[in-house]
């Protein structure tokens, strides 16, 4: 791959990051996809749009989220200094709300009257249901029947917020199938409906748009780190399912060559088994859900089931920009297993009094591997992208406890 002057200029005008990304959608959707792109380009340069989003970020979400020095984990690992970007303190408990607010403002601008979304863990579904309540738009959330079973608290939350939850029983009844059914709904209701995609994937302009809305994480972290330490962090760490929290943290730092970045995929029972969700480590390039990216697939191009203890990472693909950053070498991608995430989850509870979501527990598992080997002046900034209240039943089950 040729060296590049900047890692922040993508995608190109056809929605590609290198060979990744693109617009692989049915013709019925294509005119709408182009309309979304046009509306987003206009909104981006409209100060009123930005002002609305900034207002909601501050007064509704509670931004900026704190940058927190984690003293006891730092002491425990006896190596690098560890900071958490606390996006789990956002309204609704994760980074997902950043993107949902941006997209629903766009939907309103486009005059759309109905919102659909897919959800895995339910965090994106809850965030979408939340903004739909706020903006008084009907909300339909597609969720795999398997996920409905393992994420009951979030299902009830969405109901309280007024959303209709459609159980998806096709395929493997998880996140990828929920996305298939959301796309099927969109094709049938293309004139009225806006699809709020939850991660930095899907057809162009979604990967770029979701990244832009999530980049507030990295923009804040940069300022906050300068204030706290007077320098940039040395290493950024974030977990990756589709990769929206990671790209949100990484993107503003991509051209700061001193900053290393580590994306942590879900290794499930291990990347050498058939039960994992590590698309980069264990997959190959393919085309699904509107974009070319790394996918878990067999030799015939059939998509394989992903597995992770964390429903939010349980997806057989990854955002196309991550695939490009992986091949260009700018970001290092590693993985953490279910067991490693569970250990990190418990450690974080005991050492910092923070119950993390199982998703960032994967990031912390990687931090726990690298921090002890690093010098004391090395600064790690990890994205604590969600809180773990939703996961207590899963964790109790994994630990063999009955609650």
């Amino acid at each position: 791959m040729e060296p590049v002057n900047t890692y922040r200029s993508g995608p190109d005008e056809t929605g590609h990051f290198g060979i990744f990304g693109g617009r692989f959608v049915a013709e019925t959707l294509m005119p709408l996809i182009l309309a979304v792109e046009e509306a987003y380009e206009t909104a981006k340069s409209d100060p009123a749009f930005e002002a609305k989003l900034t207002y909601l970020f501050k007064h509704y979400v509670g931004r900026p989220s704190p940058l927190y020095f984690a003293p006891r984990l730092t002491e425990h690992f006896d190596g690098a200094k560890i900071y958490f970007k606390r996006d789990e303190l956002n309204h609704t408990g994760a980074h997902k709300i950043n993107n949902c607010l941006g997209q629903i403002l766009l939907a309103k601008r486009m005059g759309k009257t109905r919102i659909i979304a897919e959800t895995g863990a339910g965090q994106h579904g809850v965030a979408t249901a939340t903004v739909c309540a706020l903006f008084d738009l009907p909300c339909v959330v597609y969720m795999g029947a398997t996920d409905i079973e393992r994420q009951k608290p979030n299902v009830f939350r969405m109901k309280l917020l007024g959303a209709e939850i459609v159980p998806v029983t096709s395929g493997t009844a998880t996140l990828k199938d929920a996305m298939n059914d959301a796309l099927r709904d969109w094709v049938a209701n293309v004139e009225t409906t806006f699809y709020i995609i939850g991660t930095a994937a899907g057809p162009h302009p979604y990967p770029a748009m979701v990244r832009d809305f999530q980049s507030i994480i990295g923009i804040e972290a940069k300022d906050q780190m300068m204030e706290a330490e007077g320098c940039l962090p040395d290493t950024l760490v974030a977990c990756i399912g589709g990769g929206s929290n990671a790209i949100g943290l990484f993107h503003p730092f991509l051209d700061d060559s001193s900053v290393e970045m580590h994306g942590v995929e879900a290794a499930g029972k291990g990347v050498t088994t058939s039960k994992h969700a590590a698309s980069l480590t264990g997959g190959s390039p393919g085309v699904l859900h509107g974009n070319r990216t790394y996918l878990l697939q067999n030799d015939d191009g059939q998509i394989l089931d992903a597995h992770s203890i964390s429903a939010g990472l349980d997806y057989p693909g990854i955002g196309p920009e991550h695939s490009w950053l992986y091949e260009s070498g700018r970001v290092k991608y590693v993985s953490a297993t279910d067991d490693e995430a569970l250990t990190a989850f418990q450690l974080c509870c005991r050492k910092e009094g923070i119950i993390p979501a199982l998703e960032p527990a994967h990031a912390l598992a990687h931090v726990s591997r690298i921090a002890p080997k690093l010098p004391k002046d090395h600064i790690i900034c990890m994205n604590m992208c969600g809180r773990g209240d939703k996961d207590i039943f899963t964790v109790a089950d994994a630990l063999g406890e009955v609650i």
Binding site: G22, T28, P31, V190, Q297, D300, I303
Partner: protein, 286 residues
């Protein structure tokens, strides 16, 4: 980078000619055609082989075969289930081409179109796929998730290799966009008559007529209309409005109706399905 390339600029190998011949013959007979869709390898390789070889005599003018895919995003429950049944029974893209090759041993006239999603072809390798596709005796491709914006992926290489690339036009394809959609289309144009997925709802004949007339103003290619056509009467109606009617889910449902609880074909499946195709064909064969 992905700007549509004008067809005039493509100097490829000649295509098989079967599609053009078949539509010319239909025109000479003064009737509309019947395009039948089934998924390759559904419900199992042997049953499928019998279905495929029986389709021309049953009245299929053009045969469309679904390439099995795990995530068929534009398809409704009937065709999703057919894809999963086929995959479970061991179907894949290579075997799909083998089926076409077998079929060609006994039928050199009926056009065979493969319809599906890009990923299995991408994984197979575009160049190798096009070579094997030509060799199998198949005639055209309909790839649902490749709009003109992605023409460089497969459409242009296919046209250059002499493989017809049949595009879908939809109710959302407005006059401004239509020329881009039709530009690199060959064989025929497939008009998706509804907003939605396969096998769910049907459009009114007036709407379809209006849409077909609009398409005819932009192209000389034959127009086939699909989505929501499920009876001999519907085939008859479409046959008078357009050049051909496509029936998919309704046939696939007949396959599903003759499966046991383990998705195995019950005796009589092939006869039942082919009689249904006969019945459909009566709509355009008087």
């Amino acid at each position: 980078m992905n700007a549509p390339v004008a067809i005039e600029s493509i100097t490829g190998t000649a295509d098989s000619g079967r599609i053009t011949k078949r539509f010319a013959a239909l025109k000479a007979e003064g009737r509309g055609g019947l395009v039948t869709f089934i998924t390759a390898g559904d419900p199992d390789a042997d049953t499928f082989r019998d279905l495929l070889s029986g389709l021309p005599d049953a009245g299929a003018d053009v045969i469309e075969l679904g390439i099995p895919f795990s995530d068929p995003m534009a398809d409704g429950p009937a065709i999703q289930a057919a894809s999963l049944r086929a995959l479970k029974a061991g179907a894949n893209l290579r075997k799909t081409l083998d089926h076409v090759r077998d079929f060609r041993k006994s039928d050199d006239d009926t056009p065979v179109i493969l319809m599906g999603y890009f990923n299995p072809i991408y994984k197979y390798g575009v160049e190798k796929f096009l070579a094997d596709f030509k060799d199998s005796g198949a005639d055209g491709l309909i790839i649902v998730d490749l709009p003109p914006e992605e023409d460089l992926e497969l459409c242009i290489p296919a046209l250059e290799a002499g493989v017809n690339f049949i595009r879908l036009a939809t109710p959302t394809t407005d006059d401004a966009r239509l020329p881009a959609v039709l530009k690199n289309t060959s064989g025929f144009v497939y008009y998706v008559s509804i907003l939605g997925i396969t096998g769910t709802k049907s459009a009114g004949n007036d709407d379809i007529q209006f849409a077909v007339e609009r398409l005819k103003r932009h192209t000389d290619l034959p127009i086939a209309v699909g989505f929501g056509i499920n009876s001999a009467d519907a085939v008859r109606d479409i046959g008078t409005i357009a050049d051909a009617a496509v029936v998919g889910s309704a046939i696939v449902n007949r396959i599903a109706a003759d499966l046991d609880n383990d998705s195995r074909a019950k005796p009589g499946l092939v006869d039942h399905v082919l009689s249904f195709v006969c019945e459909l064909a009566s709509g355009v064969r008087g």
